[in-house]
Symmetry: C2
Subunit: 253 residues, 2 copies
C-alpha cells in the first residue's frame, strides 16, 4: 500500500502519530508500505529526513514496524538530496521512488520545460544514474531507485520506459485521475513487470460509486475490497506476458 | 527565525510535537517564524499540507500560535501545488517561499538544466507569475509569494533580482555554506530591502567557533547571541542604502 503523508500532516503531530500507527498496522497485515512523503532537501538535511522516514530506528523503544519499506522523493535538489535515502535502501533492502513525471496536468509547466530535451527526460537520466552501482540493482535487473512516472501518451511513456530500463516505475494517475490499465501498459517492461500502479481515490471512496454501493449493502469495507480486486484484475489483464507478475518493488528486494 | 522540519522529523511524531512547540515558543518571544518544510504535492494533497503547515487551525483545541507565518515550498509540481498555500497567505497575511535556486552545489545538476534558458530562470518566471494578482502584492511592492534564491555569482544573481522585482528572496548559503554578506548583496533591491538572509549552522553552533568560545565562558547561549548579532550587523552593513532596512517578509505584511 501507498500512504500519503499529507492527509495525516493536516492534523499536526496527532496526524503524524496516526501515520506511523497505520504503517505498523499495514505491516501486521503483511503488506509492504510505500510512504508518499515527496521530501527533498540538501544533503545535510536529507540525512535527517531519511532517519525519520526510511532508516531502521536508532532507539530501542521505537518499533521498527512503524518505518516504511519505501518512500517517494523530490530529487530536484540533486544527487546529494537523494543519496542518504539510497544508502539506506541498499543497506536495508528498501526502495525509493523519485518524481520524474508527475500525474497532475499542472506539473507539465515544469516538467515539459526544455527545447530538444525535456526536463522530465533530464530528471529520468539523473534517476537512472543515481540507481546504478554496486548493490543497487537486483537479480531481476531492477534498481532500488525507482521513478514516479505518470502514464501520459503511449509513445513518450514507452520511450521513457526504454530510456531507463533498470528503473522500477511507481505509476500514479489510474482511476480517479483518469488513466486506465491500457494507458499504464507502456510503464511495464516487455515481460510484464517493472511497474507498480497505484489507485487511491477510486478504491478508498468506492462506497461513493454506485457500481459498488448499489450491489453491496454490507458497508464501505466491502465496496473498497471489491474495487481493489477489480483494480488488480484490470492491471493483471494488461500485463498479460506474466499473468501473475508481481510488482517491481517486491522483485527488487 | 527559520526552523527546518527535517531535524525534528528525524524523531518521528515526537519530533513533530517538538517542532510545533518550538514555533509557539518563538511566537511567545515575538518572532516571525518561517517553517522550512519544502513540501510539494499535487493540488488535492497540497490543500492538506497547507492545513497542517500554514492555515489557521480549524479546531478549537489547537493553539493558533503553533502555526508558522510562512513556509518554504517545492514548486516543481506546478501552480496547483502552490496555490492552496498562496490562498492562505493572502487570506491570513502570511507568506510562502518557493525554491528557485537552492544553495547546495549538487542542486545545480537540476537547476542549470537548459540551453538558452536555464531551469532556475524558468522556475523564477513561474514564481513571479504565481505571485501576481489582486491582494498578493503589498504597498511596498513585494508579493507574499517569495523565492528561495542562493547567492551564486553576482552577475546572475543581479539578473534574477531584476527579472522578478516583486518577489522577496529568502537567501540561504550565508556562513557555514560559504557565502558572505557581499555575495548576498545582489539579492536585495537597490533600496536595500527585498531579501531575508538566513544563517543556520554558523549561528547555532557558534560555541564550536574559537572566535566566540574563547572569549565567552558563560555558555553556548552567549556565543549564539554574539554570532547572531555579528551576522545581523554584517548584513546591515551590506544593505547600506537603508541602514535599518527590515526584511522583506515584515514589509509585505
Amino acid at each position: 500500500v501507498k500512504i500519503n503523508s499529507g492527509f495525516f500532516e493536516a492534523f499536526y503531530d496527532h496526524g503524524v502519530t496516526s501515520f506511523y500507527r497505520l504503517v505498523r498496522e499495514a505491516h501486521e497485515h503483511g503488506l509492504l508500505v510505500i510512504s508518499d512523503v515527496k521530501r527533498g532537501d540538501i544533503g545535510s538535511t536529507a540525512k535527517l529526513y531519511a532517519r525519520g522516514h526510511l532508516e531502521a530506528p536508532r532507539f530501542r523503544d521505537v518499533d521498527p514496524a512503524m518505518i516504511p519499506d519505501a518512500v517517494t522523493l523530490a530529487g530536484y535538489l540533486g544527487r546529494s538530496a537523494a543519496q542518504p535515502f539510497i544508502d539506506i535502501a541498499v543497506r536495508e533492502g528498501k526502495g525509493v521512488f523519485i518524481l520524474v513525471r508527475p500525474s497532475d496536468p499542472g506539473a507539465d509547466e515544469v516538467h515539459e520545460f526544455g527545447d530538444s530535451r525535456k526536463f522530465y527526460e533530464h530528471m529520468a537520466a539523473l534517476v537512472r544514474a543515481w540507481g546504478q552501482g554496486p548493490g543497487l540493482v537486483g537479480e531481476c535487473g531492477l534498481s532500488c531507485v525507482g521513478a514516479v512516472v505518470a502514464p501520459k501518451d503511449a509513445v513518450s511513456t514507452a520511450a521513457l520506459r526504454e530510456a531507463i530500463p533498470q528503473t522500477p516505475f511507481l505509476v500514479p494517475g489510474y482511476g480517479a485521475q483518469g488513466a486506465d490499465a491500457g494507458a499504464c501498459r507502456p510503464c511495464f517492461r516487455p515481460q510484464g513487470d517493472g511497474a507498480i500502479v497505484n489507485a487511491s481515490r477510486s478504491v478508498i471512496y468506492a462506497f461513493e460509486n454506485p457500481k459498488y454501493s448499489e450491489q453491496r449493502s454490507d458497508g464501505w469495507q466491502s465496496c473498497v475490497a471489491a474495487a481493489a480486486r477489480d483494480f488488480a484484475e484490470d492491471i493483471r489483464r494488461c500485463t498479460s506476458a506474466r499473468p501473475a507478475g508481481a510488482g517491481a518493488m517486491h522483485e527488487s528486494r
